[in-house]
Symmetry: C2
Amino acid sequence: MPSMREVAAHVGVSQKTVSRVFNNDPQVRPDTRTRVLRGLHELQYTPNTLASDLRNGRAPVIGIAVPEIVDPYFAAIVRAVDEVARRNDMSTVLTSLGDDPEREPLLVQSLLRRSLSGLVVVSVRDEQRYLQLWAGKVPIVFVDRRPSGVAGDSFTDNDAQGGRLATEHLLSHGHRSIAFMGDRLSLPTTAGRLAGYQAALADAGVAYNKTLIGLDASDETAAPRSLDSVLRASEPPTAVFCSNARVTMVLMPLLQRLSIAVVSFGDFPMAAMLSPALTVIDQDPARIGTLAATRIIERIAHPSRRFRRRTVLNVELIERESCRVAEPSAQRSTPRPRSGAQMSAADRCELTS
Amino acid sequence: MPSMREVAAHVGVSQKTVSRVFNNDPQVRPDTRTRVLRGLHELQYTPNTLASDLRNGRAPVIGIAVPEIVDPYFAAIVRAVDEVARRNDMSTVLTSLGDDPEREPLLVQSLLRRSLSGLVVVSVRDEQRYLQLWAGKVPIVFVDRRPSGVAGDSFTDNDAQGGRLATEHLLSHGHRSIAFMGDRLSLPTTAGRLAGYQAALADAGVAYNKTLIGLDASDETAAPRSLDSVLRASEPPTAVFCSNARVTMVLMPLLQRLSIAVVSFGDFPMAAMLSPALTVIDQDPARIGTLAATRIIERIAHPSRRFRRRTVLNVELIERESCRVAEPSAQRSTPRPRSGAQMSAADRCELTS
DNA sequence: TTGTAAGCGTTATCAC
DNA sequence: GTGATAACGCTTACAA
């Protein structure tokens, strides 16, 4: 690939003049400009981004790290970030963390070393202290899961609200023994959703039964065991709340034969086409991704402006059919509208802190 | 972020010595090494990848461009590439092309300018002449769709074989009026699958009916019209062959009410959970991605070795239930095993050219 | 064993 | 308007 130097030699001007022309600097005589443009064209000049990025001290690149790119939820976030980036003439560097908390620092740091303009991360760790070094130097936005041990913007779903909505919905269909299936409790999402579940049960005066909690259910091999143990609870569940889409997808083949009511935290592509069509808590990954990337753009544009640190996004329940399976209609109660007083702080949405 | 120069000043050695220590050059006195290591640690030295990549003339980065990252097929390819890259201490730069043939050159070139070690691309264009400039300088691997107008390795599915398998399967279930739903015929995948469909019909002595071909069916708004027109054919279809997973997913809500047989080219996450469970042509995106990335690694390691240009991968049919819907059992014929003679060149698999 | 000098391809400064 | 020259942070070649 020819460099500016070569083009300059070819045309018979200085390298700087080529640079000026290439960067549309108006301070160039029209005829010089055309001569240089011709040279640029003749030699098929292609700029070396590495060089200019090094010189500029920053690459117009947004890094993004997600647990698993094949998960449609994370894929949607990635796409949204990529779109915002592109609209701002930036590129995207992706890394899939693979649910391995140990490797995350290595992987994310290898992104950061590239003089990124910003980083969007869905961490798979309990804490992100390893990012402290960078936090002051480059905008970091935590998405889906809020950070711990390091300051940074965050855009997350209202997990407690969603857990509550799902559970209340199942309660309103008469279910009194509702299982909670999740993955790792150390993740703030799982913890928050469980808290919402517990709060809803408490409000309804239904005793919390620990044997109805199944974890590690996003792991294909552990999931069946986890579900099995829950099904063998003293009071077997008539309904299941799956705390994320991956858990739902893994469990679906097992649940379908059981004719048990299901609500999933997280919609996914064919969820409405299943039989029964899945009732879900709907998140908006595209919105989250857009907000996150936009925040990075804003932070770059206004380095000293102050921004809202935490943004918690509302979720809503999409009622389809799976919540009506095996409805213990004898106990059916009408949905009880929640009063403001019953709403915990964590339940408020589009919240700041 | 401190540079080697700063660490050198801090420790009282030359920059080069810091470089040597950092890069584990054995030619350093043990005590110098420990002093430098301490300095590195104290100043929290972090290397600037841009600088070393510029100096080395190449970044340990594999670029990957796909039409749409949210599509689970492409996501699986991306993940596989990312995994191979990581195993070889490389990163991944992703770009989602968004089905816009016009923008592809811009987007892909902006990747290439980064001194990539290699590029994996699922092009959304009919031809990729814009890559000619690069083709000699960096390994480019075309995936899913083979290149046109430029030389490059390719790993593709045997589209003709898959189209044939799907169609023969529906024929064997007694269907004689089989619709073909696809997206853009200019894509080699769609064209190949259509060719397989036509070949199967011809072999079975079933007349090819152009009004049974519906295109642009991956576009949410165009799809219903496309399907409608096909359903209004002189001989309305009793079965549909969807030429890719996206088409299937878009059409599924419409097809489900129709009680019409379906075979999909391309499996996807919940396909087996649908009612009826979807019969599909199974591709192996992870394998394709792994092969593509591995080829790049090999090309880098052995720049002068000769490699197989085109690799065409076998696909297979996974029979579930959707092929048995609305079976015109009166005409049922037993599946006719194909003889070698009936196999066209394009049908052979794991093929080279 | 360690250091100096040059250079990767850009862009910024400041003369001319 | 245009062009030397230095610099970004690193690595290679060579000298001490």
